[in-house]
C-alpha cells in the first residue's frame, strides 16, 4: 500500500465533500479522492441550493455540523424563501449560487480541514478481503489502504451521455466516466440498475433580450441556510421568467425521432418531477406554454442557466429551438443540454448508517443510491462520513429517525423501498411534516451535532442562547393576554376577521388569520417588543401555531403503537411466514427483535411485512 488512511471518500461532489469533511473533523485520517481537484463542489446541473423540502435538508445538514449551508450562504447571489404565503412548516429557503465561487469556497474549506488529504486520480478497484473493505486501487497504480470507504461517485459510474443520436462515455460533460469502478461493484455482487437525468443548455447572457422576460427579485430580507450566518454578503441578482410557445412545441414534436428518449436509446429511468422539454410537450400536449427560468450563473460570467428546458435533442436543433423563444431570437448556446445514464446500486442493501451489508466498511452516498439533487446527496454524505469515522473509532452507529428529520425520512425511504426513479425529497414524504420546520432544524438536530463532535463551542453557545430566547418568547406568547379594555384591542380587532372575545393570549391571537408577526411583536410585554429578533419570534409563533396539531398526531401515532409490547417467542421462525420475503426475513434475523415495537424499528421492513407479523403475533396460538 502506498498510503494508509482511516476513511477514504471517492468523489468530490456534494456527498463526497460532506463525507470527507465530517470524517476528518471527527478525527479520522481521511482522504478525498477525485478525478479533478479543481472541480470539487461542482454544481453539475442548476446553480441553486435549497427549494421546498430541499431547503429543510440543508438546514438539517447545517444543524448537524455539515458544510453546505455555510458555503451557499457565502456564495448565494439570489436568496428567496419559498411558500412565504403559507405556513412556516412548508416554507423553505432557496438560493442561486455563483457556481465558480461555490467551488472555490468548498475547496478552500476542505483545504483548511485538519486530517483531510486531497488526492487526485481515478479509483479502478475496490480492495476487499473476507467481505471487509481494505482500500482502493488507482488507475495510476497507487494503492490506498482504508478501513472505511465511502463511494460518492455521482453520475460517473458507467456514465453515458446522449445528445441526439450521439452517445459517448462520460461522467459529466467534458469528464471521463468511471468504468472500472462500476465493474468492481458488479463483481462484488451488488444489484446495479440504470437511471437517467438531464440538464438544459447554458446561454450567453449578452445575446438575450432581457426586457422580454418577467423579472423575479431576490428577497429583501434573505433567510440564510446556516444557523451560524449573521448576514448575506454577496450582491443579490434577479432571475427572469419566460415561456415557450406552440411554435417551439411543434418543432420539438416534429423532431422527436432525433430524441434518444423517444427513439428508445435511453433505457434508464428519469425523474418525473424534472422532465425534459420533450416529455413536457408530449405528455402535456394540451398546455400551450411551459414556464422557463433564466438563472444567472454568477457575478463573473455571462452564462445563463435555462431552467425548465432540460433536453437531449441534438445540439444544433437545441440552438434552433432556443431562437424560437420570444426574447431569444438572437441567443447563443454556450453549452448544450444533454441526458446522462448512469449506474446506481439498490439502496435496500444498506443499513441506516448507509453502510453496505455486503462489504463491511463500505458506504454509499448520493446518486449511487438512486437519489437526485445536491441536498439529497449532501445529507447522505454527511451521515456516511459520520458513520465511517465512528466505525473506525469503534463507536456505535449514528442514525436519524423519520419522526425527527427529513434526513431520516430520506434514508428510511431509500433503504426500505428502494428506488425505481431518481429519488427526490418532498415535504409530503414526511408524516411528521408540521414538526419538521426549516427554522427549528437547530432545535431538532444541533444537540446531535454537538454530541457527535461536529458542532464547535461558538456555534453551540449560539444555539443555546437562541434556544433560551425562543423559550422566553414561547412563555410570553402563552402568558400575555390582550383584553377588551386594553388600548391596543380595537386596533388589533380591526385587522382580524370575526370577534376576538373579551380576552385571549398572544398565542391564540397569532393563530387568527390576518395577524402578522409585527402585530404580535407590538403586543409583547416590556422590552421584548423592541429586542425580540424576528427569526426567534417567527420560530416561537410557529411552535404555538402547530402545537395542537402535533399533539393530535401524537395521539394517532400512539394508537398505531398500541401493539408495541407484544413479545416475539424465543427463536421465532420468520421463514415459515408466508408474505415475508427472504429479504425481510434476513433483516429480522440480523436484528433479532424481542418485541413488536423493536420489529418496527428494524430498518427496511415494509408495512405489509409488519402487518403480516402483527397478525401472526396476535393469532391465538403462536408456536
Amino acid at each position: 500500500m502506498d498510503e494508509t488512511f482511516d476513511v477514504l471518500v471517492i468523489g468530490g461532489g456534494h456527498a463526497g465533500c460532506e463525507a470527507a469533511s465530517a470524517a476528518a473533523r471527527l478525527g479520522a485520517a481521511t482522504a478525498l479522492v477525485t478525478l479533478n481537484l479543481d472541480l470539487i463542489g461542482q454544481m453539475s446541473c442548476n446553480p441553486a441550493v435549497g427549494g421546498i423540502a430541499k431547503g429543510h435538508l440543508v438546514r438539517e445538514i447545517d444543524a448537524l455540523g455539515g458544510v453546505m449551508g455555510r458555503i451557499i450562504d457565502r456564495t448565494g447571489i439570489q436568496f428567496r424563501l419559498l411558500n412565504r404565503s403559507r405556513g412556516p412548516a412548508v416554507q423553505s429557503p432557496r438560493a442561486q449560487a455563483d457556481r465558480a465561487l461555490y467551488r472555490k469556497e468548498m475547496r478552500a474549506t476542505l483545504e483548511v480541514t485538519p486530517n483531510l488529504h486531497l488526492r487526485q486520480g481515478m479509483v479502478v478497484e475496490l480492495l476487499v478481503k473476507d467481505r471487509e473493505i481494505q482500500g482502493v486501487e488507482m488507475q495510476d497504480g497507487r494503492k490506498f489502504a482504508a478501513r472505511a470507504v465511502v463511494i460518492a461517485a455521482g453520475t460517473f459510474l458507467n456514465g453515458l451521455i446522449h445528445t441526439g443520436r450521439r452517445t459517448y462515455e462520460a461522467g459529466r460533460a467534458g469528464e471521463p466516466a468511471s468504468i472500472e469502478l462500476a465493474g468492481s461493484l458488479r463483481r462484488l455482487g451488488f444489484k446495479v440498475g440504470r437511471l437517467k437525468t438531464g440538464t438544459p443548455p447554458r446561454l450567453d447572457g449578452r445575446t438575450i433580450d432581457w426586457d422580454a422576460f418577467e423579472r423575479q427579485l431576490p428577497d429583501e430580507r434573505p433567510v440564510a441556510f446556516s444557523f451560524s450566518t449573521d448576514s448575506i454578503s454577496q450582491q443579490q441578482l434577479s432571475c427572469y421568467v419566460g415561456y415557450t410557445t406552440e411554435r417551439v412545441h411543434e418543432a420539438i414534436r416534429n423532431n422527436l425521432h432525433e430524441s434518444p428518449l423517444y427513439s428508445g436509446k435511453i433505457k434508464g429511468v428519469g425523474p418525473r418531477y424534472c422532465p425534459s422539454i420533450e416529455d413536457k410537450v408530449v405528455k402535456f400536449s394540451e398546455k400551450s406554454r411551459h414556464q422557463l427560468f433564466l438563472e444567472p450563473e454568477g457575478h463573473n460570467t455571462n452564462e445563463v442557466y435555462l431552467n425548465g428546458f432540460s433536453t437531449s435533442l441534438p445540439a444544433e436543433l437545441q440552438q434552433d429551438l432556443i431562437r424560437m423563444i420570444p426574447g431569444m431570437n438572437e441567443a447563443n448556446i454556450i453549452r448544450p443540454g444533454y441526458a446522462i445514464e448512469y449506474d446506481f446500486v439498490d439502496p435496500r442493501e444498506l443499513g441506516s448508517d448507509l453502510q453496505t451489508q455486503r462489504v463491511g466498511g463500505l458506504f454509499h452516498a448520493g446518486q449511487i443510491n438512486g437519489t437526485t439533487g445536491y441536498e439529497e446527496a449532501a445529507c447522505q454524505g454527511l451521515v456516511a462520513g459520520i458513520n465511517a469515522a465512528r466505525l473506525v473509532a469503534s463507536r456505535s452507529k449514528f442514525r436519524l429517525l423519520r419522526e425527527e428529520s427529513y434526513v431520516g425520512v430520506l434514508i428510511s425511504d431509500l433503504i426500505t423501498h428502494g428506488v425505481d426513479e431518481p429519488y427526490r425529497i418532498f415535504t409530503s414524504r414526511a408524516e411528521n411534516r408540521l414538526a419538521l420546520r426549516h427554522d427549528n432544524a437547530d432545535e431538532r438536530l444541533q444537540p446531535y451535532g454537538r454530541f457527535l463532535g461536529l458542532v464547535g463551542d461558538a456555534d453551540w453557545e449560539r444555539f443555546n442562547s437562541r434556544r433560551d430566547r425562543i423559550a422566553v418568547l414561547n412563555h410570553a406568547l402563552e402568558n400575555t393576554r390582550i383584553r377588551r379594555s386594553d388600548k391596543e384591542y380595537s386596533g388589533v380587532a380591526a385587522v382580524v376577521e370575526g370577534d376576538l372575545g373579551d380576552s385571549l393570549t398572544l398565542a391564540q391571537l397569532a393563530k387568527r388569520s390576518g395577524v402578522s408577526a409585527a402585530v404580535v411583536r407590538s403586543l409583547l410585554p416590556g422590552e421584548l417588543a423592541q429586542t425580540a429578533e424576528t427569526a426567534d419570534l417567527e420560530s416561537a409563533l410557529a411552535n404555538s401555531l402547530y402545537s395542537g396539531y402535533i399533539k393530535n398526531q401524537q395521539a394517532v401515532s400512539n394508537r398505531l403503537n398500541q401493539h408495541d409490547s407484544l413479545r416475539l417467542p424465543e427463536s421465532f421462525n420468520y421463514r415459515g411466514l408466508s408474505g415475508l420475503s427472504r429479504e425481510m426475513c434476513d433483516r429480522l434475523e440480523r436484528a433479532q427483535p424481542q418485541t413488536f415495537g423493536e420489529v418496527k424499528r428494524v430498518p427496511g421492513l415494509t408495512p405489509a411485512a409488519l402487518s403480516t407479523l402483527l397478525v401472526r403475533l396476535m393469532a391465538p396460538s403462536v408456536s
Binding site: 404565503s85 412548516a89 424534472c274 415535504t427 409530503s428 408495512p607
Partner: protein, 451 residues
C-alpha cells in the same frame, strides 16, 4: 411454505364433512390418497376412492376438487375432499393426510394465507368471520355483500376523490414555483362537504347494520308474577321458563334468541324485582339489575290487574332513560284495567297484551323494533355492520370536518391537509393503504411539474 389441512365443516355427525388442504404439497398428497398418476382438472369436482397409501385400504368414496394456485381461496394450491360426514372416517382421512406431510392449520390460518397472498383485504376477511357467525338471514346477506368487497367498492370512489383533493393541495405546496392552476377554496370546500355527506349516509346505516349483525339484547323486567316468563315463552313459543303462580319462581336470568323481521333478538327473562325473601332470590334480583344495565332494549312488564307499585315506578323511571317498551299484561283477565297512566313528559304508549292468549303480541313485536328506526334489511342497500368500520368512517368524518373548518378560517394548506390525510388513513384501514408514492404518481400524471 408448508401445507396445512383442517376440517372445513363443523365437528360432529353430518351428511358430509369437508377436509381442506392448502399449500404446495396439496396436489402430491392428493395423488397419494387417490393413488392416481393423472392430475385432476382444476376447479372441477370428481368422485374418487380415498385409500390409505400405506396398506391400500379403502377409507371412503369422496368428491374431490382441486383449485390451482393462484385461483383458489388462499392463493396457494388448494384441495377440498368432501367425505361422508362420519367423525370416524374424517379422523382416519385426516390422520393419513398428516402422515403425508401436511400439518394441522391453526385457527384462521387459511384466511391469513389468503390475506398475505393478496386474495382478500382485512374487510373481506372480517366479513368471512361474520358470515360464519351469522345469526340471521339478514346478517348472512350483509356478510356476503362484504366478502365480495362491497363496502370497499363503495368507499374506493370516495377515497379516490379524497386523493384528488390531496393531490391538488399537495402540488400547490410542493411545487410553488411551477405554473399550476390556482386553488379555489370554495370548490375544495364543496368537494369536502360532498364527501362528508356520502360518508355520513354510509355511517348512518350502522344503526341498523350492527343490529342485523350483532342482534338486539332485550331484557324482560317487572315485579314478580306480572307474567314475564309467560311473555318470554310466548315470544319464543317454547316452554322454556317454568311458569307457576308462585311469585319468585324465576330465580335466575335465562335467555333465548329469535328472529323478528330478520333481526336476531335475544330475550332475557329475569327474576322479578321485589324485596328478596331469601339469599338465592337476592342473587337473582342482583342479576336482573345487571341484565337491565346490559340490555339494548328494556321490556317493562306491568300487571294490568293491580295498581302500580313502588317497584313499577322505579322500573318505569329506568325505562325513560333507555330504549324501552312498556307492556301491560293480562288483558284477558276480567279484573283488567290498565293501571299505566301516561306521564306528561313521555311519549311512551304501552302495548296491551295477553301472554296467555297471545293477543297483542304482533303489536309488541313491531314495538320492539320501533326504537331502532326503520329496520327492514330487505330493501336496504349495503349496511355498515362492523363496529370497527363504523368507528373508522366516523373518524374520517371528524377529520374531514376539521379540514372544512380550517378552509373556512383561511388556514394554510398544510393544516387543511392534516385532516385530509387523516381521513385517508382511516378509510385506508378499510380499503387498503394509499402510499405517498401513489399520491406523487397522481400529482405527476395530473400536472406538468418541474423547472
Amino acid at each position: 411454505m408448508n401445507t396445512i389441512v383442517a376440517l372445513a365443516t363443523s365437528v360432529g355427525r353430518s351428511a358430509i364433512g369437508v377436509l381442506r388442504l392448502s399449500g404446495a404439497d396439496s396436489l402430491s398428497i392428493l395423488r397419494e390418497l387417490t393413488q392416481s398418476e393423472s392430475d385432476p382438472e382444476p376447479a372441477r369436482s370428481m368422485l374418487r376412492a380415498i385409500k390409505d397409501p400405506r396398506d391400500g385400504q379403502l377409507l371412503d368414496q369422496a368428491l374431490i376438487t382441486f383449485f390451482q394456485s393462484p385461483r383458489s381461496f388462499t392463493g396457494e394450491d388448494v384441495v377440498e375432499i368432501s367425505c361422508h360426514g362420519s367423525p370416524i372416517i374424517l379422523r382416519q382421512v385426516l390422520d393419513v393426510i398428516l402422515t403425508l406431510g401436511a400439518r394441522l392449520a391453526e385457527p384462521g390460518e387459511f384466511t391469513l394465507r389468503a390475506m398475505s397472498n393478496g386474495k382478500m383485504n382485512l374487510t373481506q376477511a372480517e366479513a368471512i368471520r361474520d358470515l360464519i357467525d351469522a345469526r340471521s338471514t339478514g346478517a348472512a346477506r350483509q356478510a356476503v355483500r362484504q366478502i365480495s368487497g362491497e363496502l370497499s367498492h363503495r368507499l374506493v370512489p370516495l377515497k379516490d376523490r379524497l386523493v384528488g383533493l390531496i393531490v391538488l393541495l399537495e402540488s400547490s405546496l410542493e411545487f410553488a414555483e411551477d405554473d399550476l392552476p390556482e386553488l379555489q377554496a370554495v370548490e375544495i370546500l364543496e368537494e369536502i362537504n360532498s364527501l362528508r355527506e356520502k360518508l355520513a349516509v354510509l355511517a348512518s346505516t350502522y344503526e341498523v347494520g350492527h343490529l342485523i349483525a350483532d342482534g338486539v339484547k332485550a331484557t324482560i323486567a317487572g315485579r314478580p308474577n306480572v307474567g314475564k316468563s309467560s311473555l318470554f315463552n310466548s315470544l319464543i313459543r317454547f316452554e322454556r321458563a317454568i311458569v307457576t303462580d308462585i311469585p319468585g319462581t324465576t330465580r335466575d336470568s335465562i335467555s333465548e334468541q329469535i328472529n323478528v323481521h330478520g333481526i336476531p333478538i335475544s330475550f332475557t327473562d329475569t327474576a322479578g324485582i321485589r324485596r328478596a325473601t331469601g339469599h338465592i332470590e337476592a342473587i337473582g334480583i342482583e342479576r336482573t339489575h345487571r341484565a337491565i344495565a346490559d340490555a339494548d332494549l328494556l321490556l317493562v312488564v306491568l300487571d294490568g290487574t293491580s295498581e302500580l307499585q313502588e317497584e313499577d315506578h322505579a322500573l318505569l323511571d329506568q325505562a325513560r332513560t333507555s330504549r324501552s317498551v312498556v307492556v301491560v299484561n293480562k288483558s284477558d283477565a276480567p279484573t283488567f284495567r290498565n293501571p299505566f297512566v301516561q306521564r306528561p313528559d313521555s311519549n311512551v304508549a304501552p302495548v296491551i297484551i295477553s301472554a296467555l292468549t297471545g293477543s297483542g303480541l304482533d303489536q309488541l313485536r313491531a314495538a320492539i323494533l320501533a326504537p331502532f328506526g326503520s329496520v327492514d334489511p330487505e330493501p336496504m342497500a349495503l349496511l355498515v355492520t362492523n363496529a370497527r368500520h363504523y368507528d373508522l368512517i366516523q373518524r374520517a368524518l371528524e377529520a374531514l370536518g376539521s379540514s372544512a373548518e380550517l378552509i373556512a378560517e383561511k388556514a394554510s394548506e398544510e393544516l387543511v391537509l392534516v385532516g385530509l390525510h387523516g381521513a385517508l388513513l382511516f378509510l385506508g384501514e378499510i380499503t387498503g393503504e394509499t402510499t405517498t408514492e401513489d399520491i406523487l404518481t397522481r400529482i405527476f400524471s395530473t400536472f406538468c411539474i418541474g423547472k
